[in-house]
Amino acid sequence: MNVFYDKFERHDHGEGLKGQATHYCAGCGHGLAHKYLAEAIEELGVQDRTVAVSPVGCSVFLYYYFNVGNTQAAHGRAPAVAIGQKTANPDSIVISYQGDGDLASIGLAEIVSTAQMGIPISVVFVNNAIYGMTGGQLAPTTLMGQKTSTTPEGRNEFFGTPIRMAELIAGLDGPVYVERVALYDAKQRVRAKKAITKALKLQVENKGFAFVEVLAECPTHLGMNPSDAEKWVKEKMTAVFPLGIKKDVENPPDHAKPGTPEFNPAHLMEVFEGTTEKAPRFCNEFPSGWATDDIALKFAGAGGDGAQTAALLVARAGINEGYDATHIPSYGPESRGGTSYADVHIARTEVLSPASPSPHILVAFNAPSLARFGPTVVPGGTIVYDSSVIVDVPALAKGVKAIGVPMTRIASELGRLVVKNVVALGALQAATSLFPEETVLTAIRQALKSKCAMIPLNEEAFARGSQAVRNHES
């Protein structure tokens, strides 16, 4: 058979008999599961498309034998590795081969989520009711009363009862085919071979997730001869793990395949909204009236006041004018509501320290914000606050100018409270003339590119904010 290597070079460098013999004990079920899987790969003609994921457990060395693409996974993670392989190359045929410790204990989250996702991979689950590789400890599928090296008196209720994976997986929406088979006689072996082939074929046809549980013998750790082990599986195991088809979806639709990844630079640019169009500039020189190189601003309010958007628009305006600018939001554990404040810096060449513990300019949308940050404004700085909601102005540093503008009232007169922050920007404009008016308006229009209908309202809000400051000062 071509699917097995002609010499098992990875088995102790293929030296001696190991070049053609498996590492499995006499009577172990893995050899048969391997054989039927290899035959299925050969019969379906998919050797050159197959990637087999080896688990941790006795079948960890699956890659010794199968002449296909091989990858070896961490304990329990084979389905996740299989997803990685399958999503990388959706045309590959990916097999996750796992034992009971791997799949039903440490890897439960991976197998259940992968099965529910329904991604077309084929899982061969070999259940022999015991941990083989580590030396005969309790498996999640160990039978009640069964003695193992970690249940020397036999499994009792303290360890729970054996988990029936085929039934569990069949209860999920994703799988198209789930069957439990055994190896203990010729009839069962024919069924096992058929089930494994079917699980693979469903993937070749891109139908979906298929799962075959194989009840297998572990004579070594059962302490039986191979023939008694077969009998034990037949009599004891099948009583707990009934054989048969657990799920078989009739005519499943094709599974949606990811397309071929695209690398076209023009499309890429479109996707991240890059533009080759330069933003117009209106500013002749850096607004050094505030600081020679670096101006610090703070916008503070409650969540929903629009402080972040206003802050971003000012940063954007600075960048459009060719300066460096940064914006940092504060973020509390609450996604919405609570306090919301933003630090903005606009620098002639480079923002060095992006936080604004001592801002030159503060925009405050509510009383707590003004009370908290008002006193941090540097001497000679400017504060614009919402006089609709703030009555008391705290003690401020020398020469700080505080201008109250009824932002909420103006926004509600305009019929849209959300433009409160643009009213604030208009007020900020009139109070500071940080940039030419057109600079800020351009940034606002850029931001509303996809909502053009909102532009006139925002322009009006901006104008009303500016007007309010001029009235205040006149």
């Binding site: 097995f4 002609d6 102790d12 008999l17 006499a26 009577g27 050899g31 048969l32 391997h34 050797q47 050159d48 197959t50 296909v68 693409g69 990858t71 070896q72 961490a74 993670r77 996740a80 590795v81 299989a82 997803i83 990685g84 392989q85 999503t87 990388a88 190359n89 990916v94 010729a186 072996r189 024919v190 023939s227 990811p258 397309g259 695209e262 690398f263 023009a266 499309h267 890429l268 640019m269 996707v271 991240f272 890059g274 533009t275 971003l312 940063a315 954007r316 960048i319 460096d324 600018a325 914006h327 940092i328 973020y331 554990p333 923002v351 060095l352 320290s353 992006p354 936080a355 001592s358």
Partner: protein
């Protein structure tokens, strides 16, 4: 009897029989019996075949678990002693795949983007040719993942939200193992969970890029910025002898640039790369200029792709024999040495005549840069040494300064994790009398601010902080 003769009878080389006896019961004609003699080559007792009654039904063959156990007799021209000749010719027509090189496609000159740090890293990954994202949501890295979820489908890429970080890193193992560029965005607790997988990836020599937007710890800690995982990324990438290049951006621009670089490094060395950001940097919006190219990745010859050319490849971190594993570690050590020699990166600011050298990375690096300017205005010749690779620590650039500077001040949002890396690098470089090392450290989501750094440095220098 002529029809029966057409079906081949079984053949068994006794040295490949373990004597399990599954074939015995399968034979209706009772041709097979339990053996009585120990095979000298194996020490096992193979079954005994007496094929007088055999009708060639083949049931014993399908009952035999050994690939080279019971076989259909292949005809006359076989040599009994040579399994290779015995089991027929193999498909040797396979030609091993050659590596398909990456291409750089020109990107038109795009105006700078104004985006936050996590977005810049996401866009960097797309420019670097990454079309596969596997992750699990965790604050404060999630926004970058959300952007990937939005953009990747438009590029026929794959965005997959895994059941856990543990699953996510193993999906990256699969995708990276297939030779493609995979990434994830996570934050400290999630990064902890990924370490197991990173160790496997390093062992199996698989590339991938991990962006860890670090937050306050230990445990759940909080979601504010801390440089809490420098130790983990530099010294603790899972179990075993592991290292990976650890990049430390300090601006949204570097989030993009270093992400692109990270994929380069990951594939150059076939090793994961870790980018450590901080929560502040992830959220920070700034100017981001794009490069003039995008990468169209090829496919390496070592990939487990699932085709004929790559068929005999294996991704695996198992080396069962001690000498094989020692050789593998020697090979990994050679890679680590090559990374140490070639990948050190640092940004120097006003260091030429500096007496007092600030050492800081990520956002504290930015704060420290502001502090340098302030300190110079106050007459202190300060400079900034900002490592951009934390492993390997850029000691080659630092070492010559050690003789000149009077004082080193390590500024960090962690309990000396950066300082430990620096001290270790200084020690390994054979410098046993370095300058005085002071530290400015904050925790819990509080970053050392520019003013605080200036005041502390003035204090170390024995000067009054008051302006």
């Amino acid at each position: 009897m002529s029809t029966v003769r057409e079906r081949p009878k079984p053949l068994l080389l006794p040295q490949f029989c373990k004597g399990c006896g599954r074939c015995i019961e399968s034979c209706a004609k009772h041709c097979i019996t339990v053996g009585t003699e120990i095979n000298p080559a194996t020490g096992l007792v193979p079954v005994h075949l007496d094929l007088e009654q055999c009708n060639g039904c083949g049931l014993c063959i399908s009952a035999c678990p050994e690939p080279y156990g019971l076989r259909a007799e292949p005809g006359k021209d076989f040599v009994l002693e040579d399994p290779k000749a015995l089991f027929g010719p193999r498909d040797k027509a396979r030609e091993a795949a050659r590596s398909i090189p990456d291409e750089r496609l020109p990107l038109p000159l795009v105006e700078p983007l104004v985006v936050k740090g996590t977005y810049a890293a996401a866009i960097g990954a797309l420019i670097a040719g990454c079309r596969h994202f596997y992750g699990y949501p965790i604050t404060p890295s999630t926004e970058g993942a959300e952007l990937m979820a939005k953009l990747l489908p438009k590029l026929q890429g794959v965005f997959m939200q895994a059941v856990s970080e543990t699953a996510a890193v193993n999906m990256m193992y699969g995708c990276g193992g297939a030779g493609l560029r995979a990434t994830t965005f996570t934050s400290s607790p999630g990064f902890s969970l990924m370490l197991e997988g990173i160790s496997y990836m390093i062992g199996a020599e698989l590339p991938a890029v991990f962006l860890n937007v670090m937050r306050g710890g230990p445990g759940l800690g909080n979601i504010a910025p801390e440089q809490s995982d420098i130790k983990l990324a530099c010294r603790g990438l899972g179990h075993g002898n592991t290292h990976a290049v650890v990049l430390a951006p300090s601006t949204p621009q570097e989030m993009l640039d270093l992400t692109i670089l990270a994929f380069d490094i990951a594939f150059r060395y076939r090793n994961p790369v870790v980018i450590l950001g901080d929560g502040y940097l992830g959220q920070m919006t700034g100017t981001v200029r794009l490069p003039d190219f995008v990468v169209k990745p090829g496919l390496p010859d070592w990939a487990v792709w699932g085709d004929k050319g790559h068929r005999e490849n294996l991704n695996c971190s198992i080396f069962l024999s001690e000498s094989d594993l020692e050789a593998h570690n020697t090979h990994l050590n050679a890679k680590y040495a090559a990374m140490t020699a070639a990948e050190q990166r640092a940004d120097l600011f006003e260091t030429d005549d500096a007496d007092v050298l600030l050492v800081a990375c990520n956002t504290p690096g930015r704060m420290a840069k502001g502090a340098v300017r302030d300190l110079r205005a106050r007459g202190i010749k300060a400079g900034l040494f900002r490592p951009m690779t934390l492993w390997p620590f850029p000691i080659d650039a630092l070492k010559p300064m050690l003789e000149r500077v009077r004082r080193i001040v390590v500024v960090e949002a962690s309990n000396g994790q950066l300082e430990d890396e620096m001290r270790l690098a200084i020690s390994h470089a054979g410098v046993h009398a370095p300058p005085v090392i002071n530290s400015v450290r904050r925790f819990g989501g509080i970053l050392p601010q520019q003013r605080e750094i200036v005041e502390r440095v003035l204090g170390f220098e024995g000067k009054e902080a008051a302006a």
